[in-house]
Symmetry: C3
Subunit: 332 residues, 3 copies
Amino acid sequence: MKHFLTTADWTLEALQAILADAENLKRSPIRDDLKNKAMALLFFNPSLRTRTSFELGVQQLGGTAIALNAGQDSWPLAFDEGVPMLGDEEEHVIEAAQVLGRYVDFIGIRSFPKFKNWQEDRKDQVIKSFAKYAGVPIVNMETITHPCQELAMIKALQDRHGELKGKKFVLTWTYHPKPLNTAVANSALMAAAKFGMDVTLLCPNENYILDQRYMKKAGEYAAGFGGDITISHDIDSAYAGADAVYAKSWGAIPYFGNWDEERPIRDAHKHFIVDEEKMQKTNNATFSHCLPLRRNVKATDAVMNADYCLAIEEAENRLHVQKALLSALAKG
Amino acid sequence: MKHFLTTADWTLEALQAILADAENLKRSPIRDDLKNKAMALLFFNPSLRTRTSFELGVQQLGGTAIALNAGQDSWPLAFDEGVPMLGDEEEHVIEAAQVLGRYVDFIGIRSFPKFKNWQEDRKDQVIKSFAKYAGVPIVNMETITHPCQELAMIKALQDRHGELKGKKFVLTWTYHPKPLNTAVANSALMAAAKFGMDVTLLCPNENYILDQRYMKKAGEYAAGFGGDITISHDIDSAYAGADAVYAKSWGAIPYFGNWDEERPIRDAHKHFIVDEEKMQKTNNATFSHCLPLRRNVKATDAVMNADYCLAIEEAENRLHVQKALLSALAKG
Amino acid sequence: MKHFLTTADWTLEALQAILADAENLKRSPIRDDLKNKAMALLFFNPSLRTRTSFELGVQQLGGTAIALNAGQDSWPLAFDEGVPMLGDEEEHVIEAAQVLGRYVDFIGIRSFPKFKNWQEDRKDQVIKSFAKYAGVPIVNMETITHPCQELAMIKALQDRHGELKGKKFVLTWTYHPKPLNTAVANSALMAAAKFGMDVTLLCPNENYILDQRYMKKAGEYAAGFGGDITISHDIDSAYAGADAVYAKSWGAIPYFGNWDEERPIRDAHKHFIVDEEKMQKTNNATFSHCLPLRRNVKATDAVMNADYCLAIEEAENRLHVQKALLSALAKG
């Protein structure tokens, strides 16, 4: 059973084939790759881009998409095994996954961390349980990584920069009033490394370094695909010579469940905002972000409105790459 | 870019063409005018008729409809420009509109007033922002006017009365325990005037006169299309000789944000309910309402169940006129 | 007008024809029986299986399904007739049903009891009002009975047991921390009896006997179709010789609205859980449940994971039987 839980399970060649087909689909959006097939979209967290792009994409390929808001359209699910279900949960994922798997051909899962205990969150229990029990391919619609966003980001970068190998990619932490999911940061780091870019992770201090699982994977990609990974806490040197700047805010892992203590550190780094002054230090870099983005907090209006901003392109690409992915999954 | 924000932007001839095609679609509901096209339906406020009729209509024309409940399925949006987004809003309409515009061919927007400050509400900021940024036609699914309801109302009236020019149309305020949106009242007033009817606006006192923007527009239509506009606070003379009675409750504009003071006035006019006694003063008038309607508060059971009640016809017409509208927009 | 409010309105032969067509649809899921037709799915209570299986099933038959969460996507509805609507309800079912009936060809209704007054709940006012006013066939998606689940259960039993006549069917109450709807219990009792099984209703005491309306109907079926109905409060003798065990928890009717008094009785009967020890008393019985099921509360992991557990099969059958039902309704 081929799932799409993380790009780490897919070869570079397989991902490149998906990106190539995404370009075909951008030019000719209507096909019948999913004729008579159905996909359930299970949202444990809300969504605008993901829901719209998946619903539309499935239908443009001739299939049927069914969006379900878990906990709102259905019951809360239990995931722990072998214990009496005496809490609020009315149904176990063992049954929920099997039943959905009898109805549909693919299941997309969005399930964010709980933000209380990273050791728990990093198990990625919800999507892994569905992968274990559903009997159909599972697609990650953002959990603790966001592999669909990786493909959309890489396509946007390739479309503007051509070959990415050797280009400098700066992943910069930015301020946000709340501690956010590290998923897109984990994903951007790994994807840029896998496609051979020289990656600089710019963040306030060592507490904002990403989980070692992803740092290590990115390091392996750098070793295998000819790039490198640099950690920086210095804005000037990080931006210097950058070809692509990618912004994201995230909560520091050592502070999971203890966010009040993290707040002053976060609040002291509002100057990490991406602005024109910083962009002028780069090698005419492009800028992007996964959206949603708080304007004039993470990036200024001037940056968001600039020609070098790829955020809308990247968001559009979600549609194309997801269709190409589903087409590949449908072929088995 | 042709939007459908208000019927005021469309000529009488263009609206009549839509109404004619709506009759075609009533007789032959399945066509392919929207083949390979998609529409996003963005609800900032809930809906029964609007959601069902748009979702169904788009699909009966061969397209794909995606309904999104803003704030529930997605993030709250920011609309003020040039300021740091430090509130609850995670995304700016600039990005949300552009991204949706990359995915779909039309966007429908339902966004009611906030009822605190009419000077703010009358800017109609939400739908205008989408029209500014989305890059695709925007359809008003009710904001501070309700142009789809106008078309449905006019079709119901034309189907029963034939030519509307010179017929007496009474738009009567009715009691409702809460102050409601003026949108349908604004729309009914303008539509009846645009189609040449002699319009009487019946309401408790001068505070319930609609916004001058709509009163003035109705006056211009009356001057241009041969009707007239009368304001009345007298039930007997207003109903006398009426050919069509249209009921709606709305909050008085001078009391926006100060509704406790409006309540006693409202409460003193429960007798504005449409009942058989009043209908007997008319020229065998038809009755209608946009729905939802509180029975025995706005109109009696006897009126709602009468043959002259067009409310269900009008609601059905929503489907037909919206399909004709989308077909016209698809032709560009 | 043929509705599907309860299987009691349908002959055994008609139900058997639906089950036969369900098997056809299991083998060949894509047909065009609902081409150019639409179904509204109105959920007054949330759903996973029901929503997914209906949305998918309608589309696999070439139709359009529109899921509406009442009270969330639309307004609360009033059902009492002839009174001023001065409460929270903005719309009366008279209009809501008529309007939906103008838009779509079928309406599915899910509306659970309110659990405060069984004399009120047993009137089944919501679905009966829609059947009265909508003008199109109404399908019960679970109210105080669950006829779609009946068909799914019978199909699962037939597929495993062949002819059901004379087989022993044990409907066992189980513990659950909350008092649940009697709908599936009412339905399982009637369906097993209608298909000629010898039915044992196993429950803690006489307070858990189901409403006399359903007990009586089951007795009539037993008399007419060659089975019998036994009430038992003894686990050992009830399980002895059983061919099929069906589990469900429900609240005791005499305690409706007075659930605190029922709790100690319920809590004293946690040992009604279906476990391997009990299943070993049977004649190699199958086990099933409608789902959702709290593992290790209603049934143990070992029972749920056993080959004799039909719960996933039964859930899958929801899709097939509902499609066959809609096909039959579409033929009129």
